[in-house]
């Protein structure tokens, strides 16, 4: 089928190209070469000329532009309709999206409309040499194991975990940019946007040091202790941030932009200090790749110690202030 392709859904962040899109392009390139089909990228938005031009240099055959004033903000209903029409027209074999809340929402609805199966949060993608179907690898049971799944039916839909696939590089030949007319009807929108509230974005994945607390903190006061330690560490490290595990968010002690783990941020700082965190698997998968891990917990049997380099079994309320004071003293001696 000459028109068939692997289609990458491009992500736009603050009106510029989200670099993680290049990871999808990198993964898509391998799949497209393997299937001997074209690699295409699609962007939706109101003004996407610059982004389309930019991505065309990264080894893609085609860039589809779905430009429409109503696509300026993400409305799942309208985006799904626009993508559904495009997929009907170009009949992609595989559709790749980033594993972000927006795209899993869109991808789920899109796959349902094609009576196809979406696999979310894939960390590896291969083509089955025998039947040409996509082999989708995703972590299950909080990361206890990886499941490899395979489904019939086209297009094959997946969302891909960010920061796992290798990003595509610039190539000499540019892809062709194709304008697609968008047929969407605003009256189809049943969800009315009332207001948008921006929250402090915490780039936890950029931190050098993360001091994180969990259920064992016992309340919001515990986090003040961690913030005080973080303040001392800031004299030695560039980016020291406060993180937490899910129970701390559920209990209302911390806001979710601090949450680390499967349903929060995936991080790998130079130093991760886990305080009062028991170590549920879904938290561990978010931080176990940190360079050095320190765990402070009063329960010696906590799972967190199995992924830690250094462990302290005691009450954090005493350990953390002592750690802070001595860290500062040693710093002064050195100076």
């Amino acid at each position: 089928m000459p028109n068939s392709c692997v289609l990458v859904c491009g992500n736009v962040k603050d009106r510029i190209l989200d670099e993680r899109t290049l990871e999808l392009v990198g993964a898509g390139k391998e799949l497209a070469d393997n299937l001997n089909v074209e690699l295409a990228v699609v962007f939706l938005g109101d003004e996407i000329d610059g982004i389309a031009e930019e991505i065309s240099a990264f080894g893609v055959d085609k860039v589809y532009k779905l430009a429409h004033p109503l696509l300026g903000t993400v409305s799942p209903e309208l985006w799904v309709k626009a993508l559904q029409d495009l997929c009907k027209e170009i009949d992609p074999k595989i559709v790749l999206m980033l594993h972000l809340s927006t795209w899993s929402d869109i991808g789920t609805r899109l796959a349902f409309r094609f009576d196809s199966v979406l696999t979310t949060d894939c960390v590896d993608l291969k083509i089955d040499a025998i039947d040409g179907l996509l082999l989708r690898t995703k972590p299950v049971y909080g990361g206890s194991a990886l499941a490899v799944l395979k489904y019939e039916g086209f297009p094959q839909f997946v969302t891909v975990r960010p920061h796992v696939m290798k990003a595509a590089h610039r190539e000499a030949v540019k892809g062709r940019i194709v304008d697609i007319s968008v047929d969407i009807d605003p009256s189809a929108v049943k969800l009315k946007s009332v207001r948008t509230v921006k929250e402090e974005a915490l780039a936890l994945d950029k931190a050098n040091v993360i001091v994180a607390g969990g259920r064992g903190m016992g309340g919001p006061e515990g986090f003040e202790e961690l913030e005080s330690l973080a303040e001392s560490l800031r004299q030695s490290f560039d980016e020291v941030m406060i993180g937490c595990s899910r129970p701390a968010v559920d209990s209302g002690w911390m806001t979710s932009n601090h949450q680390i783990g499967l349903s929060g941020a995936m991080v790998q700082p130079d130093l991760y200090i886990a305080v009062g965190i028991s170590g549920a698997i879904q938290h561990l998968v978010g931080m176990a790749r940190s360079r050095k891990i320190v765990a402070v917990n009063s329960d010696a049997n906590s799972s967190i110690f199995s992924v830690a380099d250094y462990g302290v079994v005691d009450d954090f309320k005493k350990v953390i202030p002592a750690l802070k004071t001595t860290w500062e003293e040693l710093g002064r001696e050195k100076a």
């Binding site: 962040k13 799942p76 972000l100 809340s101 929402d105 349902f112 199966v117 979406l118 696999t119 690898t137 299950v140 049971y141 990361g143 206890s144 194991a145 990886l146 499941a147 490899v148 799944l149 395979k150 489904y151 049943k190 969800l191 009315k192 946007s193 009332v194 207001r195 509230v197 921006k198 929250e199 129970p247 559920d250 209990s251 209302g252 979710s256 499967l262 349903s263 130093l271 549920a280 879904q282 561990l284 050095k292 799972s303 199995s306 992924v307 830690a308 380099d309 462990g311 005691d314 005493k318 350990v319 202030p321 002592a322 750690l323 802070k324 004071t325 001595t326 860290w327 040693l330 050195k334």
Partner: protein, 264 residues
């Protein structure tokens, strides 16, 4: 306004907070062996139930809990009644065991349409076993009602639902006419604890059982995830050096020395 009817979809799963290594690959049967794990209600579904109960507290109404599976444990799911749900309906059939997201949504859709009307359907954002995050959204599509993914807050006013929907850089408040479906995230807050009195009362509360025939689901159409095989995850474990000390203060001091040595 007529009595508000809220449906909450829950799933019974192996405890996702369990320690590392509790869920094991069973290669012979090409499945995960989770027999060592206690069964719990998916924590995100507990968040959804909490959101429903808060609306019931505020404006009144009826909360119906639906759960799809096979040989589900009433002692686990009865908790929903103990915290204040009015009805618990278990959708039970051998073919419902390990059903995939589309099939599960199909069963839920049939069951919801069999209820005596509904205004709002809530589900957790994802289940902590497969973390697929699709059942709620697909259910909304099947029911053909407005569907909002990832709520950090849900409230009802004038027969409209107002949802604070989590977006990458904050949240967006969206409004939809009822009936609607909302998937709920943990920011909503944890499920309340039942009182001893409610625990005792819930033991006498009837649990309804609906079979596949009763919701007109054809067992042969139920699908499971198409698993090729399971692989071990990359090993995360390290050798932990425990910091010694006569007191917590001394341990903290010793830890500071080690970290200074490592990081300068």
């Amino acid at each position: 306004m007529k009595r508000l009817k809220i449906v909450v979809c829950v799933k019974e799963i192996p405890d996702p907070e369990a320690p590392l290594g509790s869920a094991k690959i069973d290669p012979e049967n090409n499945r995960m062996d989770v027999s060592a794990l206690r069964r719990v209600i998916n924590p995100f579904d507990e968040n959804a139930l909490e959101a429903a109960l808060r609306m019931k507290d505020e404006i009144g109404g009826e909360v119906t809990v639906l759960s799809v599976g096979y040989k589900q444990d009433p002692s686990v799911l009865r908790k929903t009644l103990a915290v204040g749900a009015d009805r618990l309906i278990l959708l039970e059939d051998p073919s419902f065991e390990d059903a995939d997201t589309l099939s599960t949504a199909h069963v839920l859709c049939r069951a919801i349409n069999k209820l005596d009307g509904y205004d709002l359907v809530l589900a957790g954002r994802q289940a902590g076993d497969w973390d697929s995050g699709q059942t709620g959204i697909v259910l909304g599509e099947m029911l053909g009602i407005p569907t909002v993914n990832l709520a950090r807050n849900v409230r009802i006013e004038n027969h409209h639902v107002f949802v604070e929907k989590i977006v990458p850089d904050g949240y967006e408040e969206v409004e939809a006419a009822l009936p609607a479906l909302v998937t709920v995230s943990n920011e909503v807050g944890g499920l309340r604890f039942p009182s001893m009195k409610m625990i005792l009362l819930s033991r006498r509360h009837p649990i309804e059982n609906w079979k596949a025939e009763e919701v007109e689901v054809h067992s042969e159409k139920m699908r499971k995830p198409a698993i090729v095989h399971f692989m071990p995850s990359p090993d995360m474990t390290r050798v932990c050096e425990f910091i010694e000390g006569a007191s917590p203060d001394e341990k903290g001091q010793n830890l500071a020395r080690i970290l200074r040595r490592e990081f300068g």
